[in-house]
Every structure is written in structure tokens, then in C-alpha cells.
Symmetry: C2
Subunit: 218 residues, 2 copies
Amino acid sequence: MREGPYIAEIAALIGDPARTNMLTALMDGRALTVSELAHVAGITLPTASGHIARMETAGLLAAEKQGRHRYLRLSGPDVATALEALMELAQRTGAVRLRTGPRDPALREARVCYDHLAGARAVAVAAKLADAGMMVDHGLTDAGRAWLADRGFVRGDGRRPFCRTCLDWSERRHHLGGALGAQILSRALDEGWARRGEGRVIDFGQRGAAAFDRLFGL
Amino acid sequence: MREGPYIAEIAALIGDPARTNMLTALMDGRALTVSELAHVAGITLPTASGHIARMETAGLLAAEKQGRHRYLRLSGPDVATALEALMELAQRTGAVRLRTGPRDPALREARVCYDHLAGARAVAVAAKLADAGMMVDHGLTDAGRAWLADRGFVRGDGRRPFCRTCLDWSERRHHLGGALGAQILSRALDEGWARRGEGRVIDFGQRGAAAFDRLFGL
DNA sequence: CTCATGGTTCGATCTGTACCGAACCATCGC
DNA sequence: GCGATGGTTCGGTACAGATCGAACCATGAG
């Protein structure tokens, strides 16, 4: 009972434009400094410092000190999950200005969503699994599990779902999240098929894209 | 880019204690009147009316007029999903005051979470599936699918995952959500094994509880 | 040591908004 | 028609918190 107020505290924290800008900037999973966060939020250093302190004590952010820099990151995947849920809501209710047009096509093609791959290429993977009957109702079948295991994607960490579906911001269809999504992303990076670009962008080279598509039979 | 501010708008809306109280009160999926919402939020009618108007234009609530009453309900499952994500976050970050003690044992035993069953009995079902190898990493195996189909729980609506796991507020373990969770709840109600009680409480009679447990082999 | 840079703390300002009481509108029962 | 009940609108108050400049601490470079 009376669980309301406590989630209100967190929602209010997320509900400030400056803080939201910082949080979404951190959704690519990387850690940013206080100055960088101040920049993306468009506010001065003192103000940003205050915001960060609040989010830190609330447990939304985790900090790491290195020299005279302080690096901030989201304290866990559940923060990103909550943000995604809010984005999905914002999208349906139309509170969102549709900038998903040609603006930054690289971002539409492939980007990172906290720790997994999003964008057209990620949606294609999810669609392939669904078409092949390896996913039904957003859940993996045993056939799907086996097919993925063949390609080196095995069990998750047990603490979170191996395979989650996550509504894609630009494509408006689902891509893969969870431990599986994270493994797919790190595979692409490890194999040199892709590398991190500006912001949340993921750059696939021509050869990299081909290799990625071959692995998933696209 | 700059998706931030729009989700901020929604988060800010959720981030007010009075509104949060209303929203969580609506998580049982039923529609409440303006007066009832004012009561659960502990504010006067005019104030509540204002809050509701804002949430309505923002698309969080849907209204239906009946005589001189206005019935409000959540505009969709995604609203409940976002609230759940925030609750999970609030729980991990410890922003939550632990009132999960003996307070209202009926609520701990069985309650409704928007459209599916939560509480000890619901957690037991999820645990059973996991123990029997019918769920791994929070996803159903084909064996699990078959076992559920035997019991009349078949495919979902295709628009949402058939089976989602949802962190249980009181038990701190997962129960079943998604289309499956909704079907389990309506089955229990349809069969007369349980009926809705005060607020979110679900009352299982002795015979109802036994029948329910038998179905799931508890 | 000295300076520059990254970050925090402190006051002060100022806007936004939650809240209530009172008046007003709408619907139902009579 | 009349009162009673459910909701909305309006005006005013009051409190929270977002913001900035300036002063202050900490670390690394030279």
C-alpha cells in the first residue's frame, strides 16, 4: 500500500527536462563526465552538479572518479528499462515530436540502446526470428534457442530475461533486448564488424554489415 | 535526438504524489470516478479534477461519461508497464519504505496488477514453471508452452508478449504477466475460484484455492 | 610552487504549480 | 419546476525547486 509516493519521487526525478537529457545521453551505456552532461542538458556546471548529486543519492546514477574527472553512468539496466517504457508511452500518446524522418539516417540504421543494438538492422534480426517461427508472441521457442546457441548465443546471466523485445524508437517495430541483445551487440563490436560512432550511433562497415547479415541469414 | 523533453513531460506527470496515487489506484484495471480518485489521493475535488484533466490530455487516462459520473481508467497496458518499471526501480534503489510486512496480508496473498494476478499465489505459479524447466531465463520453453496449452492457455493477442515476468511488489520474486497472466486471472474469476475484493485484493475461497493449485500442480 | 581546469557549495532570484474555497454548470430524483 | 450530488472553473496563496554567478576545493601540468 501507499507505494505511490515512492515511485513518484523517482518519476519526478526523471521528469525534469535537464535530467532527462542527461539520462537519455547515458542510455548508450557509456559513462560521461559532469561537464559533458552539463553540455548535453544545456545548463551550467553548478546546476548540472546539483542534478547529478540528486540522481546519485536516489540511486539512478553510479559514479567513478578518475583524476579530476567524475564519470557518471546509469546505475543499472533497470534504469534504461524504465526510460524505454516511458519513451514507448510518450510515443503512443503522441507527446513526441516525430523527428524520425530523414534526420540522422545513421542513427536510424544502427544505434545502441543502453547495452543492446537498436535501429533498422536490429529490427531485421528480430523480424527474421519471428518469420522463421523461432519467436512466438515475443518469446523464444526451443528451436529459436537452439538456432541461437549454434551461433554462440547461449544462456544469459539468469538475473534478467535472456530475450526481451523492446520497441524500436525509429522503426516502430521491436528489436531484441535482454542478455541476448547485449551479446549480439558485443559480438558485432568484438568481431570488428562495427564500431561506436558519434553519440549512440553504431557504424557498420560494408564488410561488417555483410558478415553480420550472414550470421543471421538476412 | 532530443527525445528527452517529451518523456520528461510524461515522467513529470507521473512524478506528483497525488497523481501517482491515482494512477496506482487504477492499476487494478477498473475505472474510478473523479471523487473516488480524489479520495485515494487525499485531495479535494477541484484539485483532483485539475490533475485528471492534465493526465487525460496527455493521454495517460481515458474517460467515459455515465450519467453525472465520469469514469477514468488507464488508457492502456503500456501505462501500467511504465508504472511497474518505475516500481521495480524504486525497489532496487531502496527509495521504497518497506511496508511489505504483515500489513494487509490479503493483499500479499493475491491481488491484481492491472490485468494479471500478483502476490504469493501468483509467484508460486511462476516458481513452479521455473523449477520444472518450463521457463529458462524468464522465457517459456516449448515444453512450458505445451503444458500451458494442455490447461487451456494458448497464444496471446500477438500484440504483446504471451508471457512476461513482472517483479512482484510484496514477494520480491517474479510472477507472470502478459497475455498469459491476464488469462490466468480471468480463468480464476470465471471458474468462480476467486472474486475481486477491496481495492486490488483478490479473494480465493478455500475450495477455489485448492482448485487453482490443482490446475497448476502446486 | 603556481596556474589552469574540473567540480562543488552557497546565496539569491524567479518561475511553475499544487492546493483550497467559492462560485458555477450538469445531471438525476422528485 | 426544485433540491441534491458530481464535476469544473476561477482567483489567490504558498511552497518547491531550477537556474545562475561567485566563491571555494581538488587534482594535474609545468
